[in-house]
């Protein structure tokens, strides 16, 4: 009777709980943590990973000796979908080169949201490239900062060379409903992809 005096206050439903995860990517300062904060049911938390890599791959400033230890942080939040399903949202570290050193960070994600600051389109080039390379389904969300000029979505799609089937949405990362709508757009996109995959050829 190992569990004697060890109540599980969550009851039956908690025991069956499963999780799904969605990644939020994009360059430095595009609003990843802001978005996590807007939609999360909990105060965003930070978890870390210590990565070891050969110094040859790293900036000379960091590299001392053969191996380098780097600490990479992920800000994350969660959304209770229902009693037995939790969605975790992970904001990726700003340095894209760490994304795939952290084994399995993107594996197992339903998909990703790539945030773009319309004043600095180039800061999200790399994120879009990496999603395509890793075959992670994604939507692009233009974080509309107060002083952003009003870019037409299609112009940005062209500038960033985003494939036609990938949705591009403008939103405000500080706004809960707006951030929620981006997540909804991602799930719709995943549904469409599933539907296309199921069509007979």
């Amino acid at each position: 009777m190992d569990l004697k005096g060890f109540d599980q206050p969550g009851g039956r439903a908690a025991g069956d709980t499963r999780s799904v995860k969605v990644m939020i990517a994009g360059g430095f300062g595009t609003g990843k943590t802001t978005m996590v904060r807007s939609v999360s049911d909990i105060k965003p938390l930070t978890t870390e990973e210590t990565l070891t890599q050969a110094s040859a791959d790293v900036d000379r400033l960091i590299g001392v000796g053969d191996k380098t230890q780097t600490t990479v942080s992920l800000d994350f939040g969660k959304i209770g979908i229902n009693e037995s399903l939790v969605l975790y949202l992970f904001g990726t570290p700003g340095q894209e080169r760490f994304w795939f050193l952290w084994n399995g960070l993107f594996k197992g994600a339903l998909g990703a949201i790539v945030l773009v600051d319309t004043r600095r389109l180039e800061s999200s080039f790399r994120a879009i490239e990496e999603m395509e390379r890793q075959e992670v389904p994604f939507v692009v969300a233009l974080n509309v900062f107060p002083d952003s000029s009003n870019y037409p979505v299609e112009e940005i799609r062209d500038a960033l060379d985003i494939p036609e089937h990938t949705p591009v949405i403008a939103f405000d990362a500080r706004d809960r409903a707006s951030s929620r709508d981006v997540l909804v757009a991602l799930i719709h996109h995943l549904k469409e992809r599933s539907a296309v995959a199921l069509e007979p050829r």
């Binding site: 190992d2 569990l3 004697k4 005096g5 060890f6 109540d7 599980q8 206050p9 969550g10 908690a14 025991g15 709980t17 499963r18 999780s19 799904v20 995860k21 939609v39 938390l45 930070t46 978890t47 870390e48 990973e49 210590t50 230890q69 600490t71 992920l74 994350f76 969660k78 959304i79 209770g80 979908i81 229902n82 399903l85 939790v86 969605l87 975790y88 992970f90 952290w102 399995g104 960070l105 594996k107 197992g108 994600a109 339903l110 998909g111 389904p137 809960r176 409903a177 929620r180 997540l183 909804v184 799930i187 719709h188 995943l190 549904k191 992809r193 599933s194 539907a195 995959a197």
Partner: protein, 124 residues
């Protein structure tokens, strides 16, 4: 040859070495752990158990993600994974990986799951 000894270890690496008995990465049962893996205690802490093991069991009476555990315990993912593999091997916790984006046949997530996520998001 040998670098001068530092009086302290600001990176916490010595602490991690002690916590894991020098093991650097999880093997076997914990190698598939994800930051979104839910951990659920299946047994009460034992007297004399390593403090961190006890903490994990205490915090996982309700399912808690590896990421949340790491944040609460102040431990990086790789160190936590070693501690979790001990508990998994001893059958004291259950680990539930996130529902994958692709099934074994390479198909995307099932529509029922996506509908479930959508209706949850629409209630926000």
């Amino acid at each position: 040859m040998s670098a001068p000894r530092k009086p302290s270890d600001p990176s916490g690496l010595e602490r991690y070495y002690v916590l894991t008995g020098g093991r650097s990465g999880p093997g076997g049962s914990a190698s598939s752990l994800d930051v979104a893996t839910l951990v659920l205690a299946r047994a009460a802490p034992l007297p004399g158990m390593q403090h961190e093991h006890e903490e994990i069991l205490r915090r996982c009476r309700d399912p808690l993600s590896v990421a949340e555990l790491g944040a609460h315990l102040g431990l990086p993912f790789n160190i936590l994974a070693v501690l979790l593999s001990d508990l998994l091997d001893a059958g004291r916790v259950e680990a539930r990986n996130p529902i994958p984006a692709h099934d074994a046949a390479g198909r995307g997530p099932d529509l029922a799951l996506l509908e479930e996520v959508l209706s949850g998001l629409e209630r926000l």
